[in-house]
Subunit: 166 residues, 2 copies
DNA sequence: CTTGGAATGTCAACAAGGCTGACGTAAATT
DNA sequence: AATTTACGTCAGCCTTGTTGACATTCCAAG
């Protein structure tokens, strides 16, 4: 695909220079992307790892620990440290699986949902403002490129969530 | 805001659902974005922090330590630890400023340039494949949205680099 | 010339959040 | 009954970020 004859400059967007700009844009944008939740979380005993856990538990209530491990791509020891503090503080609760009682299904409590809301409100506000400034066509392109940047396994998780439950 | 009259769907891309998808796309894509260099670096004594330092020294040869501090947004103690190991291993060299001799101007050695090349080759390969799959219009949108997501100070640094020296 | 402040380097201590390895328990599966 | 799976936990390590304190060097202003 995209086998462009010479004389055609439609592949100029693939120059190393343009790729470098994209790389640096990712770097700086990701900083902005995480900065608002980070600001909210600092001072609490929580960090970015808690944010991620809370986000995906909110997103897929009743998800199992193992499932969350796959999505977050960390070790169970690492996730467990985070989950334990969320349990202890009453933000997340685990219910034993009904079908398979080895599984723990995770849910946000009211308190947890409140934190999730405050974090995602902040992050969405930045996203919304960026989307609005860029317009719908740019946003579609944004999502297309991001999706193409993922590993296969990540893309599967993303799309599984994308059109997910609720 | 976003007071969309019914019948007009031009602002439908600003729904919370779409914003959430963008947020998750950023999360998963960033993992892909960093995974190739991370894989190369693991096993060496280096990590992502070294990659960033090497990248921006390559990008703006002769940059000062203070300048790099601004770009990377870390403390000098943190950066110094990274730079010291790069000095020790002969990947980066610091030349005392000619005009202001307090400043250290940073340059990659041949060895440092080789590492930079291997890291950025890997990262560019992923980027190129994503760009190619998405096409030029999507790429333009991608960059537009990312730029809109940055903080002002980040955007200034980004654009300063974007059309920068060489 | 002296001094204030800027740029840099360094030491010590600490925290978050990754990691591995090992081990234990309960429950499902074979 | 034996094995595998899902989960939890203990112990220890690494990277990379943080703060605070302090020394050095040197430009620039008084």
């Amino acid at each position: 695909m995209a086998d462009v004859k010479s004389g055609d400059d439609s592949l100029l967007f693939l120059t190393d220079e343009n790729l470098r700009k994209g790389i640096e844009a990712m770097f700086f944008a990701y900083r902005g992307f995480t900065s608002d939740p980070d600001r909210i979380l600092q001072g609490m005993d929580y960090g970015r790892a808690h944010h991620r856990a809370v986000h995906f538990i909110h997103r897929a209530p009743g998800t199992t620990v193992g499932n969350l491990l796959d999505i977050l791509g960390v070790t169970k020891q690492s996730l467990n440290r985070v989950l334990r503090s969320l349990f202890d503080d009453g933000l997340v609760e685990a219910r034993v699986g009904r079908k398979d009682r080895r599984e723990r299904h995770l849910y946000l409590t009211e308190k947890g949902a409140a934190l999730e809301r405050s974090l995602s409100d902040a992050q969405r506000a930045r996203m919304r403002s960026a989307y609005r400034a860029a317009g719908p066509v740019a946003v579609a392109g944004f999502r297309t490129v991001l999706e193409a940047m993922m590993d296969d396994s990540q893309r599967r998780q993303y799309t599984a969530l994308k059109d997910g439950s609720t």
